[in-house]
C-alpha cells in the first residue's frame, strides 16, 4: 500500500465491498465471466467473519479445523487468487468504505484505512457495484452487559478464529438462534469451559417448520455434530432460559464479569417467578440475538428495503440479486440473514449478473438451492424470535447505548414524555446511537424501546437507525479532500 494516496482512483467494471463468503464468490464469478473486478475489504486477509482465520503469514490453516465449509473457502480462494494473477481482480484489503455515490457513469467508493496508517485509501470507481458487507451480532441490553468480559457471541468466535486462543476460562453463552451452538462448541474444543448455553426459545418452536428444515439436510448433520460436541464436553443447553443480569466485582477500572443471573421465561419472554438461578465464577458472557445486516451503504445509495422474518431491515433484490437501484447488486446477509452457503450462492449469482454487459435476462444459477436455503433461514428466524418481553428484563438504570451511556429509563422517558417513537427521534432527544458506533450496537434495541413493548419496530424506525452520514469514521483531512472534486 506504499503507493496509496487519497488522490488515486481504482477503476473496474465491477466493484465489490466485502471479502466474506458472498464477496469472494461474487469476485470469482464476475472475474470468470470476463469482468475487471476491484474488491475492497476492511480485513487484512480474505474470509470475512465466517472464514476468519489466523494471519496467513504466521499460521497456515490447511485442515480448516474449527471452520465450516472450509473446502468451499479453499476453492473460492484459489479461484480468487488465480483472478488476481491474471490481473482481473484487484484486491484492496485493510480499507473501509466510508461513502458510496452514484452518478451516470456508475459508482464511486471513498475508502479509509481500517488501521491508522500514514496515508488514506484510494477511491474506487466502477460501472456496477456489489455490496456484500455482512452483518454482526444483534444485541439486547441487560443489566451489567457493559462490564468488561461481556462480549458478542460472534466476537468470542472471532477472537478464537483470529488468534487461536480464548478470551477467558469459564463462559456463559446466551441469546437465541443456532449460531450459539458453534460458538459454544468452538470454545469447548479450544479448551474453555462452557458453564451453560441459555437459549430463550424452545425446541418446540421448530415443530411447525420441520418441512423447511428437511429441505436442507446438511443443517441437520451440522446440528448432530454440535450435539456430539455438547455431549462430549457436558455443556448444559437450557432452552427457555435467559440471562437477567450480569454481575461484576471490583469498582471502576478494575471491575469485570464474575457471575450471571438467569431465569426461565415463557413463550413471550416473560420471566417465570421462582425460576431464578445463578452461575458463579464466570469470566466471559457471550450474547447473540441473531444478526444485524450492515445496511448503511445500501441505504445511502437509496436501495429499497423490507423487514425480514427476523425483524431485521434488509435490501430487496430480484432473481439476479440486483437491488431497486440499477447496477447495484446485494449479496449475503444484506438481503436477509441466511448463512454462508446462501451467501455464496447469492455472491455467485450477483457476480455473474454484474459482469454481463447487456441485461438480457439470463436465469441466475442456483435459484432452487437459494430458495431452499431461504426457506430454512425463514424457519430459523421464526423459531428463534427476539422474545417480546425482553424490555421487562431492564431496569431504568440499564445502559442501552454503550457509547453515549444512555439508559433505558432515559429512552422510555423520551417515549412517554416527548412522544419519541422512532430511532431517529430518540437519538436526537437522548443521544442514543450518536457515539462512535453510530447506533450499530444499540440501534435495534433503541428502536424496540421507542416502539414500546407491544410491537416490534417498524422498517422506518430501523431505517432511521441505520442511516449514517458516514459509513465509517474518517479524518477531517479525508472529508476536506473531497471538496475539489477529482472527477
Amino acid at each position: 500500500m506504499n503507493d496509496t494516496t487519497t488522490g488515486r482512483t481504482e477503476r473496474a467494471d465491477v466493484a465489490i465491498v466485502g471479502a466474506g463468503p458472498a464477496g469472494l464468490a461474487a469476485a470469482v464469478a464476475a472475474a470468470e465471466s470476463g469482468a475487471a473486478v476491484v474488491l475492497v475489504d476492511a480485513a487484512a486477509q480474505p474470509g470475512g467473519q465466517f472464514w476468519r482465520h489466523r494471519p496467513e503469514g504466521i499460521v497456515q490453516e490447511r485442515d480448516g479445523r474449527g471452520h465450516h465449509g472450509w473446502k468451499t473457502y479453499l476453492d473460492l480462494r484459489a479461484r480468487f487468487d488465480a483472478g488476481r494473477e491474471r490481473g482481473q481482480i484487484t484486491y484492496l484489503p485493510g480499507l473501509q468504505v466510508w461513502m458510496a455515490e452514484k452518478d451516470d457513469a456508475g459508482f464511486t467508493l471513498r475508502t479509509t484505512p481500517t488501521v491508522a496508517g500514514p496515508v488514506g485509501g484510494p477511491a474506487v470507481a466502477a460501472r456496477r457495484l456489489i455490496l456484500s458487507p455482512g452483518g454482526y451480532d444483534r444485541q439486547l441490553p441487560v443489566p451489567g452487559w457493559d462490564l468488561p468480559g461481556v462480549m458478542a457471541a460472534g466476537g468470542i468466535q472471532a477472537f478464537l478464529k483470529g488468534n487461536g486462543s480464548l478470551p477467558g476460562r469459564r463462559f456463559v453463552i446466551a441469546g437465541t438462534g443456532p449460531f450459539l451452538l458453534p460458538v459454544a462448541a468452538g470454545i469447548a474444543e479450544a479448551g474453555g469451559q462452557v458453564v451453560a448455553v441459555l437459549e430463550s426459545s424452545s425446541p418446540a418452536a421448530w415443530l411447525p417448520h420441520l418441512g423447511a428444515a428437511a429441505g436442507v439436510p446438511e443443517k441437520a448433520l451440522e446440528g448432530a455434530e454440535y450435539a456430539a460436541v455438547f455431549a462430549r464436553h457436558r455443556i448444559p443447553y437450557r432452552t427457555r432460559n435467559v440471562v437477567t443480569e450480569v454481575l461484576g466485582s471490583g469498582s471502576r477500572g478494575s471491575s469485570r464479569v464474575t457471575a450471571v443471573r438467569s431465569a426461565k421465561v415463557d413463550a413471550k419472554g416473560k420471566v417465570r417467578p421462582g425460576t431464578e438461578r445463578g452461575y458463579a465464577d464466570v469470566d466471559v458472557v457471550g450474547f447473540g440475538w441473531g444478526f444485524t445486516p450492515q445496511m448503511e451503504l445500501p441505504l445511502s445509495l437509496g436501495a429499497e428495503t423490507r423487514l425480514d422474518a427476523d425483524g431485521s431491515l434488509v435490501g430487496v433484490v430480484n432473481e439476479r440479486q440486483e437491488s431497486s437501484v440499477p447496477g447495484l447488486f446485494l449479496a449475503g446477509e444484506v438481503t436477509g440473514v441466511g448463512g454462508a452457503k446462501l451467501a455464496v450462492l447469492e455472491g455467485l449469482a450477483a457476480g455473474a449478473a454484474a459482469a454481463v454487459r447487456d441485461d438480457a435476462a439470463r436465469a441466475a444459477p442456483g435459484l432452487h438451492a437459494m430458495a431452499r436455503h431461504r426457506r430454512f433461514a425463514e424457519a430459523m428466524h421464526r423459531a428463534h424470535p427476539v422474545p417480546a418481553g425482553w424490555q421487562e428484563w431492564l431496569t431504568p438504570a440499564t445502559v442501552v447505548c454503550r457509547c453515549e451511556e444512555v439508559t433505558a429509563g432515559q429512552i422510555t422517558e423520551a417515549r412517554e414524555m416527548l412522544e419519541a417513537r422512532d430511532a431517529r427521534t430518540i437519538k436526537s432527544f437522548t443521544r442514543a446511537g450518536m457515539g462512535w458506533c453510530q447506533g450499530r450496537v444499540c440501534g435495534f434495541a433503541a428502536a424496540c424501546l421507542g416502539q414500546g413493548p407491544a410491537a416490534p419496530p417498524s422498517a422506518e424506525s430501523l431505517s432511521s437507525a441505520a442511516r449514517r452520514p458516514l459509513a465509517a469514521p474518517v479524518g477531517i483531512g479525508e472529508l476536506a479532500a473531497l471538496e475539489p472534486s477529482d472527477s
Binding site: 481500517t114 454482526y136 468488561p148 462480549m151 471502576r252 477500572g253
Partner: protein
C-alpha cells in the same frame, strides 16, 4: 495448533534475528513491557495478560475492553504508537509497539 507461535520463551534476542520467524514480540502497555505472539490482535495480547479493560467512558468512567470483537462497536479504542482511537480487536501487535489506554484502575483516588 502453532505451539511455536504461542510459546512465550523467545525474548528480545529471538526477536532481533533478521529473516527468521519471531517466536514472540515485545510490546508496551502504558509503559509496561508485555510479551505477545506475532499475529495476535492487541486485544488478545492484553486479555492474555489479564488486562480486560483499557478505556473509561466519558460520563460514568465505566471500564471498557473488547465487546463486538470485529470492529463494529468501537468499545476497545486505545492509542497505538501515537495514533489515537485505534480498535484493539483489529490491530495486530508488532515488535516495539507502544500502546496506551485511558482506563485508570480504581485506587480510590479518583473523584
Amino acid at each position: 495448533m502453532s505451539t511455536k507461535a504461542q510459546r512465550g520463551a523467545g525474548g528480545p534476542a529471538a526477536a532481533e534475528q533478521p529473516g527468521s520467524p519471531q517466536e514472540t514480540v515485545t510490546i508496551s502497555f502504558d509503559g509496561r513491557p508485555l510479551t505477545a505472539a506475532p499475529g495476535q490482535s492487541i486485544g488478545s495480547a492484553l486479555v492474555a495478560q489479564g488486562i480486560v479493560a483499557w478505556r473509561s467512558t466519558r460520563k460514568g468512567a465505566r471500564p471498557r475492553g473488547l465487546f463486538c470483537g470485529i470492529g463494529i462497536c468501537f468499545d476497545c479504542l486505545l492509542t497505538v504508537d501515537g495514533a489515537t482511537n485505534q480498535r484493539a480487536c483489529l490491530v495486530e501487535v508488532c515488535e516495539g509497539m507502544q500502546i496506551e489506554g485511558s482506563c485508570t484502575p480504581d485506587d480510590g483516588s479518583r473523584a
